[in-house]
Subunit: 202 residues, 4 copies
């Protein structure tokens, strides 16, 4: 019964996807220890037991989410952007615009950013985690920053520090997006200002 088996796998995949997607938001809002499986299940709209059909444990579900975040396509995006034959100012502008749009449109994007940053903060010594999503994100951003510093469009300072600063602010507004119903989002200009000099001063 290849067809039925096929369909079956499909259904399984869908449910698993649903759980991961919804859990991401819930975990981002409530944290790992602040999330009860019973509440999470109710939030998703499934039975508690169902979660254990797809994941060995609460921790396993969390890890799966972690893995998803790290395999995000955002890094490839950024990599591509960093190699484009355009000015750093333009790259930063494009990146910032894209981030702001994602933040506004997609709660899941905010959840991803939030969880990712929190994981990083939670790690004992995050400076050494060279292989993580975060550090790659940071590195490509740092590259652009260095390019911008050469071009004179980006403020002075250690590129990694500035990269860290920039993504920190992104995290900040991801939090706001998740937790507050009404708030004023900063403008693209505001976020760019973390890195870019005033145009007149170049």
């Amino acid at each position: 019964m290849p067809k039925s088996s096929e369909r079956c796998r499909e259904i399984r995949e869908e449910m698993k996807e649903k759980i991961i997607k919804e859990s991401m938001l819930y975990f981002a809002k409530n944290g790992f220890s602040g999330t009860k499986i019973s509440d999470l299940a109710k939030y998703i709209g499934i039975g508690q037991g169902t979660i254990y059909v797809y994941f060995k444990s609460k921790e396993d579900l969390f890890s799966e989410i972690y893995r998803r975040i790290n395999n995000s396509s955002d890094i490839k995006e950024l990599k591509r952007l960093s190699h484009l034959p355009i000015s750093a100012r333009q790259k930063i502008h494009k990146l910032t615009q894209s981030i702001m749009e994602n933040l506004k449109a997609d709660k899941n994007y905010a959840a991803k950013v939030t969880l990712n940053t929190q994981m990083m903060l939670g790690e004992e010594d995050y400076a050494s985690a060279d292989t993580t999503y975060q550090s790659k994100l940071y590195q490509y951003t740092a590259q652009i920053i260095k390019q911008g510093q050469k071009e004179g469009s980006v403020v002075a300072g250690d590129a990694m520090k500035l990269s860290d600063y920039y993504w920190g602010v992104v995290y900040l507004y991801a939090l706001k997006q998740l937790f507050t119903t009404s708030y004023e989002m900063i403008s693209v200009k505001d976020l760019e200002r973390i890195l870019l000099k005033d145009e007149k001063n170049e």
Copy 2:
């Protein structure tokens, strides 16, 4: 023969103070649900029972911390600063310097900022919480921002939004201070840039 009741009250006050101070850091790092009373007690170096001599429950202890934060002297400081007969640029510079120093020197300051921001984020509708520490902090900061916008030293934009942005970044580095052992603190210049234009452009 009652233990000199003066001395007794003193001892009680000291212990309560100690518990609150140490718990502040612990809660800031681990969150409410991530904090086990047994671990907290061990961390403070007292018996579990002792916490319950001074606080009705884990929640009660947390509320007490919240109350403390809201009665912080920082607001009065800022109020005083906002009324000084100096330029907004100078006020922002002083404020930023003071914050950076506090963050570096005092883990408890970082804990206060962290807890305070998290509480604010947790509230259902934080826009309406006019009477809280946060909103006063924001308001005085917004006043300075408006002054600066008139003087031409501060970037354009809604003053409250910029105030929120500024303190958000402070929160960000409070988190880094609490969670990471080695990181590069942003400079006073970096933080000021959230609000201040490049001096050459005024």
Copy 3:
């Protein structure tokens, strides 16, 4: 595929009933503070957690038991009896016989009587609790007593006081039933003597 929700409710109802019934005996024997949830669960033969699936707290379970006792069918029985067109002596005889049989046959009856009386004693001002099981029980009994006093078969004295006396003795033997393995139960005659004159003297 939800477990046939009819069957589900049924199972829940059964378990709740089981817990209440068994707890009644255990609480009657050990008192509220003398009852540990862990021991109670072991006694019932279920996990500790199960109790908390059905009841919010130890106190909640106790209240539920209290409620059950007050909705007991015994009152309706007594009311019916009090309105029968027979002599008070006969009513008292029937009532006493019925009580003695219940006490002997049904440990749960003894538990009910015990808990009920203890609750009444525990109340601050039990004279005013007009609406409780106890007071209705007392009132119907007092009615029969008054009838008997008119008929000359019942001893002189305030009817409520005698009613209280009568049920007090019932409580006494409920206690003996619960606590002692071997004791001599008083006879129907002994209990009747609280209220009834010697037949020869009417």
Copy 4:
């Protein structure tokens, strides 16, 4: 310093006496597990620690109370009464009058009766506790009952059973005395009726 040492012992004795007397009432009302040392100390008006100066443990204090009750002078009274050269009716009347007076006048008497009966009920197999206060009390009472049955003044039935019944009712009214503020005490006649036939029928 014999005088000082003498005085010292006296003070100690007084405090110990005070603790025992007050605890008796408190334990009678609240039971062993329902009594918290902190509450008891507050009730007595002393510090918690003070109790442990005089007693090794809560259980030790309770035992001491138990011992006191068993060494009560009441038994000797009853023994004396049982040997007087008067009719059983008169003995029962005197005993009943004395009990009623004690119950009304002295809360501590009620406490003694209560604790004593409760201890008896609590024992695994109280039929065998021949040496206890209770059984002596019962035995002397049973003797009087037997005398009365010979004299024709006491109702028929096993003497020990009737003795148990009689003292059970005394317990009942001791409870009422302890727990209720307003209640109608039964009359001497009511209590005697447990044992004595109507005078006209002898």
